[in-house]
Amino acid sequence: MGLDILPQTIGNALVLGSIYAMVAVGLAIAFGVMQMANFSHGELFMVGAYCVYVLYTLFGWPFELAVIASFPIVAVIGVIYERLIFRPTRGNVLAGFMATAGAGFILQVLISEWYGVGLPKSVQVPYPGGSDFLMMAISWQRLAIIPVTIAMVFGLWYFLTKVKNGKALRACAQDPEASVLQGIKLNKMTALAMAISGGFAGVGGALMAPIVSVNPYMGHDYAIIAFIVVIVGGMSSIPGAVLAAFILGFIHTFVSTYADSVYGMMIGVLFMAIVLIVKPTGLLGNVKV
Amino acid sequence: MSFLSVKKLSKHFGGLIANNEIDLEVEKGEIRGIIGPNGAGKTTFFNVISGFYQPTSGSVTFKGQNISGKHSSEISKLGVVRTFQRAALFPDFTVLENVVIARHLRANNSLVSAIFGNQKKAEEANVKRSAEIIEFLGLGDEIDSLASNLSHGHQRQLGVAMALATEPELLMLDEPVAGMNSGEKAVMVGMVKKIRDEWGVTVLLVEHDMRTVMNLCDRITVIDFGEKLAEGTPDEIKNNDKVIEAYLGADDSVA
């Protein structure tokens, strides 16, 4: 059997796990802080990919700058979500969740009107060639995702544990009323959470732009993955999301390498169903943000 | 083996020890009160027996059958039903509809007969019995008003009526007179006595209003700081100095 490609598969699994972590962490922090459930999280990912397509391919910015720019751009969209959808429907998770489905439609139509639907946009690969380090024939473009994800997740950890407003965000997640009594502005925190959520999804999309076909409807599959990861990891736990992201990344990679990518997705969903039956609160269910 | 016997029941929440190895024996037909200062672990003890919390250790047996750790809907099928400290009811339904829904256990028609059969006939027995219970508890004149429009006292009485509708053998009341003025308290005390005397239902209630407990209960168990402090008839408890010291605050106050 294909043991010789084992290191390669492990490498690919780490890449996939990193992207899944990037997208799922964004979803987990939004839900963790004030139960802001974003059904169109996939669309934020898609907008991130278009940032690279527009800035890097059309405007000719350097790839790294385009990726960095995708964080603030999509973060602003996240803040708009919080202001127009989540704040008016605060207290009703369902209403906010359904409304974000509507917002997803709006983003899809706007992007397809501005940049056309036709053929998927091709984004030439900024780091051509690949590495054969440890017999892993993986392109630099894909490998570059791992360090970026590690840096971002570490940055988030540092923010949440060392920076005052990061701790305030955790406080809001654990007890909103007590946080308000300490003078923490709840609306500022929910906006901050959605900004981080959008930023992470945006950078995820930006990193994947050169690898996958960029089109207005590409967010759909990544939304499903983010949902499965967040459920498996434990709804509002960031460590849970990272752990579940790599578990799912390995499942998808190994199954699609040795069988077929759709079966990979199916087994991912089955794994989620099993976790739901055994532990409905998810692997690290009780950890809050 | 007594009607309800609780052995060495403990319940921990993280660092908090809410209940620490509490024993309790309740005989059939008795009105047993559980009192203790606010936050002493009475409600936790109540929730563990009624199946809302899983016990950390210890056992609960009802009529010889072990019910500890069972699902609360299973426990109510066995005849142990509880009320809530909050006015728990279905606001959009009338008083009668609330009690009919509560008789869910007793309704016999299946899903298919509910769709095709004549629903009015199938429900007849339930509706008649529900109206009896409402009359019995003195809520007769409110029978068709919406539950959300009732006064606080009436809402709590409806809670008791719904628990009674399942024809329980052991009725557990969670702070039945909380937030009531003296008039409403007297009505509730009368109602609980009537339930025990005329329907032979055993009552286990949790309360921290001393006056109500003293003249309503046959025997009283005092819980403080998660542990059983004392047990006995109202008079024994009234003069038990450990109870007075813990429950009513130490005499050598800080002044």
Binding site: L84, M98, E113, L276 | S72, S73, M162
Partner: protein, 340 residues
């Protein structure tokens, strides 16, 4: 609690009028639009199937469990009917019930893991499990036909056009008898759904939504009832699926995707779920908007997205809150005294 006949008529005259109008629709369409009437009739058939679907989804939401795989359950009905009719030539009066029973089985399997979760985990969990079923349709060429799906599904033989009734459409495709089949099935389903909603089970489901802790304490096993309603809603969704399979004549996995699921949510949210009539109003009004926006259909998702957000934020109760007001308006207009 007994209703005298006059009371019955007083309450149900609007429904009776609508049924009569629908019954004569083929003749009305033929007189107004002639040949074109046939095309309009298909739209009416799709509308009827959507009404059954929306009503079954509304039943599901009475416990507060808004699933995102309802469209998939409808797809199960469509696929099962199509397979039985296409490959085994089984007549419609068998394929529809069998499809419904298979869908109940699938609903049960999906409900098992979901019934232990609440809120957001339930929504996206149902979405993921729904996608799982869609992947099966895409992967298995036999019997689901893979991503191309199944085509030329044989029409149910309901006798030659004009046999049954006085309308002779004299058209190659016996559209009108398929229409009458759809109408009868839709009315039956709506009556059953109404009786379910007002039955003891209907009240139990609603009480689970308003206070599930209280339900547990009076002996209603909430988990089991959530699974039960999932299967019942799946049963009726399958009926709608079977009807659409026959009407479209061809189905593929994309007919039952996320986009359609969001449109279903829009119908039910805009219409409102508190009363039985909410979803009917939602489907009617939104189908109208769908037709009106036909000229600029690439903006349609955007328009419906805006409608969904604004109705959730500004009119959470949905259009049904207008019923008491409009009913009152008509009453004042007609001057009849208030019905007790």
């Amino acid at each position: 609690m007994l209703k005298s006949n006059s009371m019955f008529i007083k309450r149900w005259w609007p429904a009776a009028i609508i049924i009569v109008v629908f019954a004569f629709a083929p003749q009305l369409f033929e007189t107004f639009w002639g040949r074109m009437g046939m095309y309009k009739l298909v739209l009416l058939q799709v509308f009827l199937a959507n009404v059954v679907l929306a009503q079954s989804y509304r039943l599901m939401t009475t416990t507060g469990d808004w699933t995102l795989c309802h469209y998939i359950l409808m797809g199960m009905g469509a696929y099962t009917t199509a397979i039985l009719a296409k490959f085994y030539g089984i007549p419609f009066y068998l394929t529809i019930p069998v499809a419904a029973i298979c869908t109940v089985g699938v609903s049960f399997l999906i409900a098992l893991p979901l019934s232990r979760t609440i809120g957001f985990a339930f929504f996206i969990g149902s979405f993921a499990l729904g996608e799982f079923v869609r992947y099966i349709w895409e992967k298995m060429h036999f019997p689901f036909g893979g991503s191309r799906g199944l085509s030329n599904i044989p029409r149910p033989e309901l006798g030659q056009s004009g046999d049954w009734y006085f309308v002779d459409f004299s058209s190659r495709m016996d559209i009108s008898n398929l229409y009458y089949g759809t109408l009868v099935l839709a009315i039956l389903a709506l009556i059953l759904l109404y009786r379910l909603d007002t039955s003891r089970f209907g009240n139990a489901w609603k009480s689970i939504y308003s206070d599930s802790e209280l339900c547990e304490s009076i002996g209603i096993n909430v988990t089991r009832y959530r699974i039960l309603i999932f299967c019942v809603a799946g049963f009726f969704a399958s009926l709608a699926g079977s009807l659409l399979a026959y009407q479209w004549g061809a189905i593929d996995p994309d007919n039952f995707g996320m986009i359609e699921m969001v449109y279903l949510i829009i119908w039910v949210v805009v219409g409102g779920v508190k009363t039985y009539w909410g979803p009917l109003i939602g489907v009617a009004s939104m189908s109208l908007v769908f037709e009106l926006t036909r000229p600029f259909d690439e903006f349609r998702p955007l328009i419906f997205g805006v409608i969904l957000i604004s109705s959730l934020v500004f009119m959470p109760g949905g259009l049904e809150v207008l019923i008491p007001r409009t009913a009152q308006f008509f009453k004042n207009l007609v001057g009849t005294k208030e019905v007790s």
